[in-house]
């Protein structure tokens, strides 16, 4: 069975500090991994994805994520947090083995404190 885990319900970080939102995965085959952000009463907005190639993936708004196969992790990072980054972040995966649906983590609420 595929699963994506986000171990933290909430992450608080001071503005200007680096931020990390954690994600681990368990999918069969080669994983396709994604990060999405959801602002209140809005749909999901795509940030970045890992399909193959470089383990460090750069995405929108200065976010990046590192794919680590040995630790089965895909943590989202940003060197310097902005108050406007405060939102709900979802990690999601596709097994790449005939299933195209996204399996989501439960989401992590990021609060950036001014």
């Amino acid at each position: 069975a595929q699963s994506v885990a986000q171990p933290e319900d909430q992450v608080n970080v001071a503005e200007g500090n680096p931020l990390t939102v954690k994600c681990t995965y368990s999918v069969s085959g080669n994983p396709y991994l994604f990060w999405y952000v959801q602002y209140p009463n809005r749909g999901l907005q795509f940030l970045l994805k890992y399909i193959t190639g470089d383990n460090l993936v750069k995405g929108s708004y200065g976010f990046e994520a590192e794919f680590n196969k040995s630790q089965t992790s895909f943590h989202l990072k940003k060197p310097s947090a902005l108050v406007s980054d405060s939102a709900l972040y979802f990690c999601a995966g596709i097994s790449g083995a005939g299933s195209y649906q996204l399996t989501f983590g439960k989401g992590t609420k990021l609060s950036v404190i001014p």
Partner: protein, 113 residues
């Protein structure tokens, strides 16, 4: 269009009534997905289409839920005889195939009273 469109934004139904939600995927995208976001933000996959054909319906509660994607028409998700637990935000997404990211619509908030 370049965005996934969903209508209506909000839908209120009494228990037992029918609800129908619509989705216009991005032009050129051959895959359409429906997800349900319930309390505590959890996403549940319902069904996917490849063009007008059902691709994966493993998440659909088949007794009351049905969905279609017909040529030259918006895709639709219909719930017969709604129940209180159907209250959720329903998101539609589309993409161009495996490996491409899914683009999500703004969602339809269904409230069953």
């Amino acid at each position: 269009g370049e965005e996934v469109a969903q209508t209506p934004k909000h839908l209120v139904r009494g228990e037992g009534q029918k609800a129908k939600l619509y989705c216009a995927p991005i032009k050129g995208h051959s895959y359409v997905f429906w997800y349900q976001q319930v309390l505590k933000n959890e996403f549940k996959f319902l069904i996917s289409f490849q063009n007008e054909n059902v691709f994966d319906e493993t998440g659909m509660p088949k007794e009351r839920f049905s969905a279609k994607c017909l040529p030259n028409s918006p895709c639709s998700l219909e719930i017969q005889a709604t129940k209180l637990e159907d209250s959720a935000v329903y998101f539609c997404a589309s993409d161009g195939g495996l490996g491409s990211e899914q683009y999500f619509g703004p969602g339809t908030r269904l409230t069953v009273t």
